[in-house]
Homo-oligomer: 384 residues x 2
Amino acid sequence: MEKVRLGIAGLGNMGGTHAASILAGNIRRLELTAVCDLDPAKLARYPQLASFASADALISSGRIDAILIATPHYDHTTIGIRALEAGLHVLVEKPISVHKADCERLIAAHRDPRLVFAAMFNQRTDPYYRKLRQLIASGEIGAVRRVNWIITNWFRSEAYYASSAWRATWAGEGGGVLLNQCPHNLDLLQWMFGLPVRVRAFCRFGRYHEIEVEDDVTAYLELAGGASGVFVTTTGEAPGTNRLEIAAENGRIVYEDDRIQYLRNATPASEFSRTTTEAFARPDTVAELITAPDHGGQHNEILQNFTDAILEGAPLIAPAAEGARSVELANAMLLSTWLDQTVELPLDAALYERLLQQRAARSTRQKRVGAPAPVTDFAKSFGR
Amino acid sequence: MEKVRLGIAGLGNMGGTHAASILAGNIRRLELTAVCDLDPAKLARYPQLASFASADALISSGRIDAILIATPHYDHTTIGIRALEAGLHVLVEKPISVHKADCERLIAAHRDPRLVFAAMFNQRTDPYYRKLRQLIASGEIGAVRRVNWIITNWFRSEAYYASSAWRATWAGEGGGVLLNQCPHNLDLLQWMFGLPVRVRAFCRFGRYHEIEVEDDVTAYLELAGGASGVFVTTTGEAPGTNRLEIAAENGRIVYEDDRIQYLRNATPASEFSRTTTEAFARPDTVAELITAPDHGGQHNEILQNFTDAILEGAPLIAPAAEGARSVELANAMLLSTWLDQTVELPLDAALYERLLQQRAARSTRQKRVGAPAPVTDFAKSFGR
């Protein structure tokens, strides 16, 4: 195979963005040959491509080697399973599924090791997060003691939520900011620090918008290894913040505003504490500033990596199976709020699915759906 | 009365610092005439002053009009009550008492309105915190939505904790970082935002030091008016952080590193959210930078204000009765941890006192007390 023939399922904001980039020739050896969407008007935008009214038709068309799933979230699971069973390579948008049990079903369908199964965690291509991960994994900063991530620059207007009936409903989207905007951040969190062992979260539902799902979250985390953590997110704040602070034995790291500041201790904190004879002294520090020229290849790099994995066996940046972790973490935050108690991980997947289905079934909120909002500035939506 | 004759009870780090400043003539019309301490060696440092081996003797000496209480925490209550009942003006170090019930007893002893009863909340004199308070109280920043205060620059060594047997024990000090270092921050928090209505805290006991009390705290707060909050503190981190972020309708404020950054929204966030037709737009912002020449008069300003209040009726910067709030907040964080649940305010004072006494009674930890640590750098201990 010299080229990968790709079909895109779902031509909303993300599917349309990926289609445009591939058609512009940004991805070597990846050819967009077919699309599917429920909306004929969206299909009509791609007269040069084979188009289908359903994912099933696309999957069985014989026109594609691989599928990119960019539908509403629940369909990631059903379409993903069908595509894998049909022998297609699969790249799934985040979140890979809405809840842990669906993640397990989806991942279990990946039985053929020759099939590449990847997830769109494009922020893993960002040199800043790569550097942070390397500082932690290499032991450079020593044991991590505390993490505080304020990621509140996901502002969304009422017009955004009104743009589609499925958005921000339990039945249609399966969650709010944790399922739509934060999968990236939750993935990076587990990618850098591992999955927390315990979560106590305080989600608020429709705090800032006329929606039934969460649009504001504060979570306390206990990480493997004993570190404590705070994760705060919302779609209701302007201007919002993206600041990640890591307190570790060998110093303190702050990532914010396109720079990583590292205050390195001359002596590790706990060793200094044990050995100094002074009551009020603290270790000397040296300041280091780490920057990068840009934020990496992002979506295009994941598309290229997916293509290279199919054609040459390149290692995946984001195997889909790893996408289950950010879903489990998002689920844990919601479950902790619903139960009003601390939740241990691994999460009880069946319990979560049952409670989510109850909410989907009894949803009585009539969502006010207006005219589709313009998406000309969708590129601005990719918060870092 | 032309001058106030002051006695200091307790000549430890704080009492000694105040004595030196008053003897240096820094406080107009305040004369240090007497001191008391259990340790004769400390009394011997002040041969020019009347000295007493007990607070009772100092209080009944007739040599003083006012007393500054800088003893270990539990004694603030007992000495304060005796001094007020003896007709003395009282300035009490923070915390005013160890727990809410003691605060109530102490404040109830202030029956004579002619007596000035103040607390040493010197950080209320800091122009930065005054400016923050004014930005909130004036309505300039609009409704507060979220607060995140990381105040982890209270690093203390093992030598600090080993310097006195009473330190960092339930029986001797009644708590750790929340009772010793953080009363300032908890007071500023309630001074700016009001007392929270609900607290869920995660204290760790002896996480970083060989002590039985808390030296690491992460607390989730629900503020009056609906804002959410996070408060994080520890004595175990180096270099540590002091960063206060306030997300409000009219923009975002960050106080850190001797500057207040205000990103002001051109349109309030919720109004923008409701009225824009765009899905991914956000309000324009204007950046303002607020600085101050210094951090105010601090301890000396409180001492001067106390003196002026006695002589001229000047309004107090920090009436002692307001000191009950930071104690209640500290107690709530410990109680939430002990009960492993959310605690509503007002706090159940009797329950807290009972649980604290249980811990004091069953304390089995043998504290390793070494030689007194040098205090030559005590001035460095006043974190901001």
